[in-house]
């Protein structure tokens, strides 16, 4: 399995925070999906910190699209082209760390 850790926490505004470390691909996308689904009913906005993510593929993007409206994504420059070209940046809030 592709190494991936999702650490729940609280963001700066008290919003739930998920800090992701590793690479997100077809093999482990369910980990991220379950973490986001667990927070589905508790908060309007979830901060997703992808600063330590080195890779994100279309499987991961699919999960993010599912929750896009309430996601505030912190993304490193490495992931920027993927988020931009996929159109996720137009739906979710994306900001640099």
């Amino acid at each position: 399995m592709t190494p991936l850790t999702v650490t729940p926490g609280t963001g700066p505004g008290g919003a739930p925070l998920l800090t992701v470390t590793g690479e997100i691909d077809l093999a482990n996308v369910q980990v991220l999906a379950r973490a986001l689904e667990a927070l589905q009913d508790t908060a309007a906005t979830v901060v997703l910190d992808l600063t330590a993510v080195e890779y994100l593929d279309s499987a991961g993007l699919s999960v993010l699209f599912r929750h896009a409206e309430r996601l505030e994504i912190v993304a490193p420059p490495l992931l920027e082209p993927v988020l931009t070209y996929s159109g996720l940046a137009d739906l979710a809030v994306v900001r640099a760390p």
Binding site: M1, T2, P3, E23, D25, L26, A27, Y55, D57, S58, A59, L61, S62, F65, P77, L78, P81, V82, Y85, S86
Partner: protein, 1420 residues
């Protein structure tokens, strides 16, 4: 060598080699081969087996010898033609033993073949073979060719032999017969002829060791003894024989001898009657008899030995041949001693009989000539006697004539009412009696004038009255001829002294002439006075006389040629007599004539007597009536008057047959046809009666024109023609007859009233066969007619003899005219060509038809012949049955003795066998050359097929090998030929498959096609030669095909073995050349300068080191080819070992200096040696006199690796080696090479290096392998590299290739590897991540979709970097199913991402999986 196995015993193993001929094969199989140096057949090499197969399957006569003892083999044809009783004893024996009796002849030839490997050729070699129980004179044309073993060494010989005994001996005999017939003179005495014949017979001492010609002594029958008593100078014979009693009973005398001296015990000059030894005096009877000379009867012991001719031993037999006489007893006999080395077969007998026949014909001819000569002498004597008689007693004619004419007149009167036929006979006699009387009178007058004996008596005469009376005699004749006779004779008042009887002759002659040549108008006689002369003129309006003739008009025997006359009869002395008579009177006569207008004769006579001899004057006589009988003159002019009561008087009817005279003086040849041509009706009738009475069939015509027509309608045996005839005279007729080939041979007997040498020469020169002068005796005429008819028939016999001789020639014989048209051929011509004389095709004979080359050769030979040289050529011709054959033609010019026409006489013989023997040898040589030049088995086969095609000028030659491969292997010549088995038509394939089980090397011909099977190393090979149906495949072709196929089988076996060796060598070469597997990013090329060797002195090497680095070596040993390769192999191994010890480039080179010093040929090897870290691109390197490496950066900058330079290897062993270091930047290309790549004659090295850098730059985005190919191609000189080239190319980093199972868990691992590789590519920021994402999406797709149903299937990822491009490929082995609804967005997103990340994306679904190819350019 003893023959051991009993018949029916077990066949020794390997005897299938003899299967091509069951019969000879069985005998060969029965030989105890173990006792020979060859050993049992099962152990025989392929080459020997092949040779034996060829031998046995051939229908040409052949034998061969093999091995140290030259062990003897032969085939059935040889057994039959040559070996005779030595079979089967000879099989398996040493050839020296088999042919012991001729080994001195053939041994040296065989030694030559064995020692030089070159074939020999002997034509018509004389050999004495002991094959029929006696030493036999034989001739052979043969060729010894070398036989080689599997290794190519000459170990035996093959002899293809054609026995030519028949031809050589036949030619020799024919030459003798021809020479016998070449007697240049037609006329010889018998002894001359016999001497000539003996000389010619003596020129053939082979077939005629000696000859004797005995003639039966029949001189008793030869009245004058002229004929046979002549003694020849050469073969002197005595005439000591006793008196003859006639043929056979009178003994025989030796008339000719050759090869033996007359008087020798075996050649007595005379065989007395009753003698039996040495030869029977009565000869052999009517047919040839053989006499055994081995036990000479009647010869005492110790007698002189018999002459032996051209042989060592004397003859053991002789043939006595009678000299046959046509329709009579033999003339004698010929004793011909026999050639003891030849059987007395039909050919020998017929030769001797022909020779004897020629001698007999010569005797007949000589005796006949002698008889004729004698007759001619008799006739000449008779003629002389007659002349004497005639001149002495001519005056006596008058008496008998008178006695004839008197009773005749009486008879006419009495028979007025008799039978018309009787009366007609009397009339003829009467008329001719008158004419003869006049002729006798004229001749007598003339001869009396000549002799000066004519005594004239001149009396005064009234000239007018006398002349008018005489003219009156012609009045009625003139009227009958429709002419006016005017007589103007006024009295002169003075008499003229005349001899009245002589004057009558003058007037009658002149008036007769006038009437004869005048057809209309007037004849006028006038007398007038002119001073002291009386002038008498005779004028006519006739045809006139040509001016040129006038001066000779009064010459004796001169006859005027005029176009028209009432008759051509005449003596030619009339006017001469007239002039003589006028002269006697002291007068003159002149003629004045205009052609076509008329003639005037003027006679002037003096008055008085002063001009006359006084003693001739007599007193005047009373006027007397005309005494002269004018009737002969009148009849001569107008012909016989019609006899009342005989309608259509028989005498006048052309061709009319009158009753024959009662007693014909000589009988003619029964049934012979004679044509009589004479304008005189009486003569015509007389000749007709005479000849009919003698038994001839006679036809009579009136002139030459009619005669020609008659001859052309039906050819007579003889023409009897008068010289003088109207319309066309005898000479013109003769010329016309001779000019026409159909009538040229008809004999002609000319009759003429003109005697004298000159006239007869004229007639004979014109081609008359005989000449007879009138008057002639009936007996003489009949004798001449008979002689000529018989002579003509004999000439016919000569022609028949000639035809028989020509037909007996064994060589074909032909005669053609100057245009080449064939006129005559003999039997051999027809036999050889199948054409008869009538159906010879083409204007120049059959060779006209066989193509341009044959035509030209014949034309050249023909021209040679016409220009007087002997023309010779050898030509192909097609027999009537279409079979191609070769003939050797000789031709010469000759003249037809009859017509004088130029002809070409030629002979030819069939040289097909020789031609094919030569063709065979040259085809074998050409094939051997082709095979030796071939680079491999396929090339050998292709070359051989092409050679076969040329030999036969075949449409196509095809070979099918039935080997282990799934489908038979096809090779073929010709355009548009099928190149693969499957493309052959179905029926062809079936046929070829059927044929493959046939016995090897046994051709099968079918029309214009032939097949033969041969043993190919891979399996049976079926060879097809297709002549395209233009001509059949002959037995000679089959022999040749068999030989060539055998040679080809050997050649293919050798080529196959050589190929195996070559393959082995190549495998070894490749093993020492370089690593089979190269590390990633490397590409190499190797181009040896010496093909087909694939190694040379250059090399490259890559050595993976334990620490992950890679040793790189490119080196170049001095020299080329195998020697350099051997050095290279050692250096390469040493270098590799040193690098594996991590010595580093400098230390490696230093160690190699020492190593190379100990390897011969390694001095001055140049070398580039480096150690590369493929991860970092760090390269440590050192050079040993090697051209610098070339490094092209991603920006196109070219750097030369020219640091770390040192001397070539082993130049200074022990010297320090420098080392340099550089970094190969990402996406750059490193090129290492040997100087063959960049070095060009007369060009600086830098130019090549720059060119190489440019090529690298131009191909900077190609894969390493494609780039290596591009560089080799760009730098190749126009005519290829002339030195070894080794090239090593490295692109940093090498491409990443990995394969992982289609599981999502593998994605991260793959990504990690890819990320690491991308880092080595030194890409701009963000680009690596984009490539990573695109690759990740493609891999995820492969995992998720491609292998949804088969998890774990392989996925392959491949990424390569160019200078400014990254290429990426992902392949799976599954299929991307149509996306399901729920994941379609997700799928679409993945592909969209790929497009977003890369510049080019191509997804190719396929049966075997889906491939995604992506490319992005590196910018900035």
């Amino acid at each position: 060598m003893a023959r051991s196995l009993p018949a029916g015993g077990p066949e020794p193993a390997g005897s299938d080699v003899f299967s091509a001929d069951p019969e000879v094969g069985r005998d060969l199989a029965a030989v105890d081969w173990t006792a020979t140096p060859l050993g049992p057949p099962s152990g025989w090499p392929q080459s020997l087996r092949t040779a034996v197969s060829i031998l046995l399957s051939s229908r040409f006569s052949m034998w061969m010898a093999w091995g140290p003892d030259l062990t003897f083999f032969c085939n059935d044809a040889y057994r039959r033609d040559t070996l005779g009783r030595k079979y089967p004893w000879a099989l398996g024996r040493p050839a020296r033993e088999v042919w012991a009796e001729i080994w001195h002849e053939i041994g040296p030839r065989i030694d030559t073949v064995l020692s030089t490997g070159r074939a020999t050729w002997d034509q018509g070699l004389q050999l004495f073979l002991q094959r029929s129980g006696y030493p036999e004179e034989t001739y052979h044309t043969f060729s010894y060719s070398p036989l080689r073993d599997d290794g190519g060494a000459v170990v035996g010989m093959l002899c293809v032999v054609t026995e030519e005994t028949e031809r050589v001996i036949g030619e020799r005999r024919m030459a003798t017969l021809r020479d016998l017939g070449s007697d240049p003179s037609v006329v010889r005495t018998e002894q001359q002829m016999l001497d000539f014949a003996a000389h010619q017979l003596g020129r053939n001492p082979q077939d005629l060791p000696f000859t004797l010609t005995y003639l039966f002594d029949d001189r008793a029958g030869d009245a004058d003894g002229v004929g046979v008593s002549a003694v020849g100078a050469g073969a002197a014979t005595g005439s000591d024989g006793g008196p003859g009693e006639g043929a056979r009973g009178g003994g025989a005398r030796l008339a000719g001898a050759s090869g033996i001296a007359p008087g020798h015990p075996a050649a007595p000059r005379f065989l007395p009657p009753g003698a039996t030894a040495p030869w029977p005096a009565t000869g052999p009877g009517d047919g040839p008899v053989v006499v055994d000379l081995a036990l000479p009867s009647g010869q005492p012991e110790g007698a002189e030995p018999l002459p032996s001719g051209s042989w060592q031993e004397p003859p053991t037999g002789a043939l006595l041949v009678p000299l046959l006489r046509q329709g009579g007893a033999p003339y004698g006999f010929l004793v011909a001693a026999l050639n003891r080395y030849r059987p007395l077969d039909a050919g020998y007998r017929s030769f001797l009989e022909l020779a004897a026949g020629h001698v007999a014909a010569g005797i007949a001819s000589a005796r006949s000539y002698r008889a004729q000569q004698r007759r001619a002498e008799e006739l000449a004597e008779l003629d002389r006697a007659k002349t004497v008689f005639f001149s002495n007693v001519s005056h006596e004619f008058r008496t008998p004539l008178t006695l004839i004419m008197g009773p005749l007149e009486e008879l006419r009167g009495r028979l007025a009412d008799a039978d018309p036929l009787v009366r007609e006979e009397v009339e003829v006699a009467h008329r001719n009696g008158l004419r003869m009387g006049r002729l006798v009178n004229t001749l007598l007058d003339f001869s009396q004038i000549e002799a000066g004996r004519l005594r004239a008596s001149f009396a005064p005469v009234d000239l007018c009255a006398a002349t008018a009376d005489l003219a009156g005699v012609f009045r009625s004749a003139a009227e009958r001829a429709g002419l006016t006779l005017e007589v103007d004779c006024p009295p002169l008042g003075e008499p003229v002294h005349l001899d009245r009887s002589l004057w009558e002759k003058v007037v009658l002659n002149l008036l007769g002439n006038a009437l004869k040549f005048t057809f209309e108008g007037t004849v006028r006689v006038a007398v007038r006075r002119d001073g002291d002369h009386a002038v008498v003129t005779f004028a006519d309006t006739g045809v006139g006389i040509p001016e040129a003739e006038i001066p000779r008009l009064f010459n004796r025997f001169h006859r005027i040629r005029t176009s028209r006359a009432r008759s051509h009869e005449g003596s030619g002395i009339g006017l001469a007599l007239v002039r003589e008579l006028v002269s006697l009177h002291g007068g003159t006569i002149t003629a004045d004539s205009t052609e076509g207008r008329g003639t005037v004769f003027t006679v002037r006579l003096r008055f008085g007597t002063a001009h006359l001899p006084a003693d001739s004057l007599v007193a005047a006589a009373p006027h007397a009536p005309v005494t002269a009988d004018a009737r002969p003159y009148v009849q001569e002019v107008l012909g016989p008057p019609a006899v009342p009561g005989t309608e259509g008087g028989a005498a006048g009817a052309d061709g009319g047959v009158l009753p024959a005279p009662a007693a014909p003086p000589a009988r003619g040849t029964p049934g012979a046809r004679v044509l009589v041509a004479d304008d005189n009706a009486d003569m015509r009738g007389y000749l007709t009666r005479l000849l009919t009475g003698a038994g001839y069939r006679v036809r009579a015509v009136g002139d030459g024109v009619e005669a020609l027509e008659a001859v052309r309608a039906e050819q007579p045996d003889l023409i009897v023609g008068d010289v003088m005839m109207p319309r066309m005279d005898g000479l013109a007729m003769l010329a016309a007859l001779r000019a026409d080939s159909r009538t040229a041979a008809v004999p002609v007997l000319l009759l003429s009233a003109r005697a004298g040498q000159e006239a007869s020469i004229e007639g004979l020169e014109a081609g008359a066969d005989d000449y007879l002068v009138k008057p002639f005796a009936a007996a003489e005429l009949l004798a001449r007619v008979r002689a000529n008819v018989e002579l003509a028939r004999m000439r016919g016999r000569h022609a028949r003899w000639r035809a028989a001789l020509v037909d007996a020639l064994q060589e074909a014989f032909f005669v053609c005219d100057e245009t080449g048209t064939v006129l005559e051929v003999n039997a051999a011509y027809t036999e050889i060509l199948g054409y008869g004389p009538q159906d010879v095709p083409g204007p120049h004979g059959p060779w006209e038809e066989t193509g341009r080359e044959a035509h030209d050769r014949w034309k050249l030979a023909f021209r040679e012949a016409l220009s007087g040289r002997a023309g010779r050529c050898t030509l192909p011709v097609d027999r009537a049955d279409g079979q191609r054959m070769w003939i050797s033609v000789s031709c010469n010019e000759a003249r037809d003795p009859d017509t004088g026409r130029r002809v070409v006489v030629g002979t030819f013989r069939d040289v097909t066998a020789e031609h094919y023997a030569v063709q065979r040898d040259s085809a074998l040589a050409a094939l051997a050359l082709r095979l030796s030049q071939a680079a491999g088995p396929d090339d050998a086969l292709a070359g051989a097929l092409d050679e076969l095609r040329q030999v036969w000028r075949a449409d196509q030659v095809l070979a099918v090998t039935f080997g282990d491969r799934p489908e038979p292997c096809l090779a073929a010549t010709g355009e548009g030929a099928a190149d693969r088995w499957q493309r052959l038509p179905e029926e062809d394939r079936a046929e070829l498959v059927r044929l493959r089980d046939r016995p090897a090397l046994t051709p099968l011909a079918d029309g214009g096609r032939a097949h033969v099977v041969l043993e190919h190393p891979e399996g049976p090979l079926v060879l097809r030669v297709d002549l395209g149906g233009r001509r059949p495949f002959t037995p000679e072709d089959q022999v040749l095909l068999s030989l060539l196929a055998g040679r080809l089988a050997q050649g293919l076996t050798r080529a196959h073995q050589a190929d195996q060796h070559r393959r082995t060598a190549l495998a070894l070469q490749r093993a020492i050349l370089g690593p089979a597997r190269l590390p990633q990013g490397f590409a190499v090329r190797y181009e040896p300068a010496v093909p087909p060797l694939e190694v040379g002195g250059d090399w490259y090497d890559t050595v993976p080191l334990p620490d992950g680095r890679i040793g790189i070596v490119v080196g170049d040993c001095v020299g080329r080819g195998l020697d350099a390769a051997a050095v290279m192999g050692q250096l390469r191994s040493a270098c590799r070992a040193l690098l594996l010890q991590e010595a580093g480039p400098a230390r490696t080179l230093a160690a190699l200096d020492h190593f190379a010093a100990g390897v011969p040929g390694a001095l001055c090897t140049t070398l580039f040696c480096g150690v590369l870290d493929p991860v970092t691109g760090r390269l440590v390197y050192a050079g040993a006199g090697h051209p610098p490496g070339i490094l092209t950066g991603p920006d196109g900058r070219v750097t030369l690796l020219d640091q770390g330079r040192g001397l070539p290897l082993a130049v200074r062993p022990g010297a320090e080696r420098p080392e340099a270091e550089c970094v190969v930047p990402p996406r750059s290309t490193l090129l290492l090479y040997t100087d063959g790549l960049v070095e060009r004659r007369r060009r600086p090295l830098n130019e090549g290096i720059t060119l190489a850098g440019e090529a690298l730059q131009a191909g900077r985005n190609l894969s390493a392998d494609a780039l290596a190919a591009r560089v080799m191609e760009r730098l190749a000189p126009e005519d290829g590299y002339d030195d070894d080239v080794a090239l090593l190319l490295y692109r940093h980093p090498g491409p990443l290739e990995l394969t992982f199972p289609a599981e999502s868990s593998q994605l991260a691992v793959t990504r990690g590897t890819l990320r690491g590789w991308l880092r080595r590519c030194d890409l701009p920021p963000g680009l690596a991540q984009r490539v990573l994402v695109a690759a990740g999406e493609a891999c995820a797709n492969a995992v998720e979709h491609g292998h949804r149903d088969h998890p774990g299937g392989p996925v392959r990822l491949c990424v390569a970097a160019g200078a400014d491009e990254i290429r990426l490929t992902v392949e799976d082995s599954g299929r991307w199913k149509p996306p399901r609804a729920e994941d379609s967005r997700h799928r679409g997103r993945g592909i969209a991402l790929m497009h977003a990340m890369m510049q080019e994306v191509a997804v190719t679904p396929g049966e075997a999986g889906t491939t995604v190819r992506m490319l992005t350019r590196i910018e900035g």
